[in-house]
């Protein structure tokens, strides 16, 4: 039981630090080390994700780091994607999805590692995607659709102790990214945070800390409906779930503490390294090595 608590704590720590669910840690451990079926492990993992999300988001929303408005908007697309994915899952082979998901993760990781973060400041009027009018946000004269660019927010960075102002762009195309995240997470069983964070950070120019915090908030919404279904359907192993949830809770609190000490640029680098690791695990899993 202590071993399981430690594993769950690690999942909670990484989950709250990077806005991921932690399912990528919990599911393999429960299936490989504890001999649980994939469905039973997924049920426990979903409950842990909800706990990690609720604990992390409560603190991150209060400090305005997590953006509730943008989160709600983007999550409508992800939740729709999850429903579509659940239906597609009946017809598509899971390894195909896992491999394509891994490729997206590797691309995101390399992009985030190589390119510096670009945050839209209040006086920044440039187009975020020069020469690209295909997303429907440009009128062809360099003036972007106001409905898609006037979202401005502020959060307080506890590490640097300053207020960070940022503008959110490409919301509509970002929603397409979230739709894809919802579909792939429902198909592959891995939390959509790994896709949602690069979409928010790279495509929508939401600062890394705000992107991971917002992801922390929305993954709970994604996971909760699945968790309710497993719980009410009697599939959930209550004792294992209880142990994992307690570990995840403690890990989340530690992760939140570390989050106040880490700066945004190193966080982006660590996240890209984590993406490479997760992609490797997914590829090994798809190839039947795990």
């Amino acid at each position: 039981m202590l071993g399981l608590i430690v594993i769950a704590m690690t999942a909670g720590l990484i989950g709250s630090l990077f806005g991921l669910g932690g399912g990528i840690i919990i599911v393999p451990v429960l299936t490989i080390l504890y001999g649980m079926t994939a469905k039973d492990a997924a049920a426990v993992s979903l409950v842990a994700i909800v706990a990690i999300s609720a604990v992390s988001a409560s603190s991150l929303i209060k400090s305005r780091t997590a953006n509730v408005r943008i989160g709600l908007k983007l999550e409508t697309a992800a939740a729709t994607g999850a429903i579509i994915g659940a239906i597609i899952a009946l017809y598509v082979s899971s390894w195909v999805i896992a491999v394509s998901f891994a490729i997206v993760l590797i691309y995101s990781a390399i992009y985030m590692f190589m390119r510096p973060e670009r945050v839209i400041t209040p006086d920044d009027t440039s187009d975020s995607t020069p020469g690209n009018a295909s997303d429907g946000t440009s009128d062809g004269n360099g003036v972007r659709d106001t409905a898609d660019r006037e979202e401005r927010f502020t959060y307080h960075d506890t590490k640097t102790n300053e207020d960070i102002q940022y503008g959110v762009r490409n919301v509509r195309t970002g929603m397409i990214g979230f739709l894809a995240a919802g579909i792939t997470s429902a198909l592959s069983g891995v939390g959509g945070g790994t896709i949602k964070i690069p979409v928010m950070n790279v495509h929508m120019h939401i600062p890394m800390k705000a992107a991971t915090a917002t992801s922390s908030y929305v993954i709970g919404i994604t996971a909760f409906s699945g968790a309710v279904v497993y719980l009410l359907g009697g599939i959930l192993d209550i004792e294992t779930a209880a142990v994992v949830v307690i570990g995840a809770f403690i890990g989340s609190l530690i992760g939140l503490r570390i989050l106040t000490m880490i700066d945004a640029s190193s966080m982006r680098r660590y996240f890209s390294i984590l993406l490479i690791f997760l992609a490797s695990v997914m590829l090994l899993n798809a190839g039947g090595f795990l």
Binding site: V50, A54, K62, A82, I83, F224, I238
Partner: protein
């Protein structure tokens, strides 16, 4: 009724109350006390329903503050989530 404060409040207390009940249930289970499973299930149910309660409070807060566009978005999300639950229930 501030959106961030009210949503944060629900998420914090929902998860903490749920965790306390789960921990008490687990201790009761280890001590071989009856009804420990019911206690753990109740705690887990509270945790699992917390994000949904958070969405309901966000919707209420946005409505009260007359942020109509975001209130509609929150309502749509609640509807999609409920539909998602029904679909998942049918597929499990």
């Amino acid at each position: 009724m501030n959106l961030e404060n009210s949503t944060s409040f629900v998420l914090r207390y929902g998860s903490v109350i749920g965790i306390i009940i789960v921990a008490m249930g687990l201790m009761a289970h280890l001590a071989d006390i009856s009804h420990s499973d019911t206690m753990m299930t109740a705690g887990i149910l509270i945790i699992v329903l917390t994000p949904f309660a958070g969405m309901l409070v966000s919707f209420t807060s946005l409505s009260v503050n007359r942020e109509r566009a975001y209130a509609v978005i929150a309502l749509i999300l609640i509807a999609i989530t409920v539909i998602g639950m029904v679909v998942a229930f049918l597929l499990v």
